[in-house]
């Protein structure tokens, strides 16, 4: 018992129980993460159940969203979410790849380091800042310099007219996608850069040794080496764009139903919830919004799970 007593003096109360308590606390904390994620699904499913019970599958396919007549269909916001996220990705992906390749391969180190840090810091700027910029700077500029001229040019009845029609106030699907793209750009560039740096120097040197140009090294050695990771980062960016709320809510115009053109007002799942949830008066209205949340959860969960599986142990 003497040794046990000295243990107590030096290492706190009874070793084995202290050890067990600490380990249990750690396990409990880890389990809490799982419980939280599970709780999100369960609570959204329970909260949204009345809407699914009332409208059935029609909830996903109908685009009528009318709090007055209590008819809710989620197709408008779902389509809006997918379109904005996809457009944002199309704009941000080539730029993010370009930035990462330039910083890792071509840029002089003295410039590359500060630029890389700047890009990473910008990835942390809260989305509400991007949203405000979109609302007060991008939207007015876009309406005056792009939207109006395009509408004026378009001949009545032509395909341009149906593509560009809409109220020329700059708050539309397209500008929302631009803001989303600007927002996910630094994030994707930072992860791409991290990814490209994992390519072993020997591979690069071997390719240069064979006489490859830098372009050929990037195209035939580096990109193939990190292929899986690139797809993972794309999915990660997509996941961000799909779930992004504030940047979009400011600028998308918040109209329900299917957007008529890319310059028409629309809505995303997240923007609809952000706009209406605190003011939803009827139970069915809140239930429909929570059900929308569940739909968003499944879309993003799928995308993010694929991203994580492809990225493996990568950070971010």
């Amino acid at each position: 018992m003497a040794s046990a007593a000295s243990d107590t003096a030096r290492f706190g109360p009874s070793r084995s129980t202290g050890e067990a308590i600490f380990q249990a606390a750690c396990l409990g904390a880890a389990t809490m993460l799982l419980v939280t994620l599970g709780g999100v699904v369960v609570s959204l499913a329970i909260g949204g159940w009345p809407a699914f019970a009332e409208f059935g599958l029609g909830f996903l396919t109908s685009s009528e969203w009318n709090p007055v007549t209590e008819v809710y269909g989620a197709a408008g916001p779902i389509v809006g979410t997918l379109i904005t996220a996809f457009l944002a990705l199309v704009m941000a992906l080539p730029l993010a790849l370009g930035v990462a390749v330039f910083l890792v391969e071509f840029c002089p180190r003295t410039i590359a380091q500060p630029v890389a840090i700047a890009v990473e810091l910008l990835a942390g700027i809260p989305s509400i800042v991007y949203g405000m910029w979109g609302l007060f700077v991008l939207a007015p500029w876009f309406a005056e310099h792009v939207q109006l001229p395009l509408i004026m040019e378009a001949e009545p009845g032509s395909w341009q007219e149906s593509l560009f029609s809409g109220i020329p106030n700059g708050a539309n699907i397209f500008t929302a996608s631009v803001i989303l793209a600007i927002m996910i750009l630094p994030y994707m560039a930072a992860v791409f850069r991290e990814l490209f740096m994992t390519v072993p120097a020997q591979l690069r040197e071997a390719a240069y040794g064979l006489g490859c140009t830098p372009f050929e090294v990037v195209r035939s050695v580096i990109i193939p080496y990190v292929r899986r990771g690139v797809v993972g980062v794309v999915m990660l960016g997509l996941g961000r764009a799909l779930g992004e709320t504030m940047a979009v809510t400011f600028i998308i115009g918040n109209a329900h139903g299917f957007p008529d053109s890319i310059f028409a007002s629309g809505s995303t799942i997240a923007s609809t919830i952000a706009n209406e949830f605190a003011e939803a008066t009827s139970d069915m209205h809140s239930a429909a919004l929570v059900a929308l949340g569940l739909v968003l959860f499944f879309i993003t969960f799928g995308v993010l799970a694929i991203a994580r599986a492809l990225l493996g142990g990568q950070k971010y």
Binding site: C26, L34, L44, I46, L95, A278, F301
Partner: protein
């Protein structure tokens, strides 16, 4: 065309394109920071920090929102650090290699980038609806859930970087595993743990969506955690979308404050992390 010439030209073109991409990206981001500075800087004065938010047309500041943000982020971070450090410790020191550990790690990474508005809905369902009222505590819990995965991730990363000789030496002296972890491993990883907390704090200080229907917002000064509480992001949201020009000006000031706060916390986090690697 000559093949060597073609290869050289396509290479130049490619390098030029990546440089242009970098220029475009930097230009867009500089434009945003520029608007933030020009529209926000002029509005900063002592009133911002001493007066509560005004009615349209009268004088006022953002003191209630600043206070609310600090309180809710502080409470949220506290919860997140306790849970996150313990969970990260479990992943790194105990069960990280088990199937359960792999599942926790995977789902933590998913939670890391889950849309924050869904976290808001979740906390609304478990805390606001049952108790029939928006509260600062609910806001803090929502923020904690967002910061938790970040702290967990950085804790696991930094702990697994600690040399195992450290643990072995402690155990060889007869200390228990828990003791070694708390007094030796945590201590040597201290700077990294602080970085994780700072990253979490930077992330939640700009979060808006999860606060909209948990803490709701409050136009008066309040420090009561059971009542609705103002925060910078929700006040910015309300003011920016209003039709009043003085409210919009305050929104820009608030946005500038948040951006500066987030940037400086991130920079401090980086400096601490660099010290940690030394």
């Amino acid at each position: 065309m000559d093949r060597a010439l073609y290869r050289r030209l396509s290479n130049y073109l490619f390098v030029a394109l990546t440089a242009i991409a970098t220029l475009i990206a930097l230009t867009a981001l500089i434009l945003i920071l520029w608007s933030l500075l020009t529209k926000g800087l002029g509005g900063i004065d002592a009133k911002i920090f001493t007066m509560t938010q005004p009615a349209p047309g009268s004088e006022g500041g953002l003191s209630n929102a600043i206070m609310g943000s600090i309180m809710m982020c502080g409470m949220g971070l506290l919860i997140a650090v306790v849970v996150g450090v313990l969970a990260g410790t479990w992943l790194s020191e105990y069960g990280g290699s088990t199937p359960y550990g792999a599942a926790v790690r995977f789902l933590n990474d998913v939670l890391l980038s889950a849309p924050s508005i869904l976290i808001g809905l979740f906390v609304y369902e478990i805390m606001v609806r049952p108790f029939h009222g928006f509260s600062a505590i609910a806001g803090a819990v929502a923020l904690a859930i967002i910061a938790m995965p970040i702290v967990t991730r950085t804790t696991e990363d930094i702990l697994s970087l600690q040399p195992s000789a450290l643990r072995e030496a402690g155990m060889a002296l007869g200390a228990s595993r828990a003791f070694v972890i708390r007094k030796v491993v945590w201590k040597s990883a201290r700077a990294g743990l602080i970085t994780g907390a700072l990253l979490g704090f930077a992330r939640i200080s700009g979060e808006t969506a999860p606060l909209l229907f948990t803490a709701l917002g409050n136009q008066f000064f309040s420090v009561d955690p059971t009542q609705p509480m103002a925060s910078l992001p929700t006040t910015i949201f309300q003011f920016a979308l209003s039709a009043y020009e003085d409210w919009q000006r305050l929104a820009w000031v608030g946005a500038l404050l948040i951006a500066v706060a987030v940037l400086s916390i991130n920079i401090i986090g980086r400096v601490v992390a660099r010290e940690a690697r030394r």
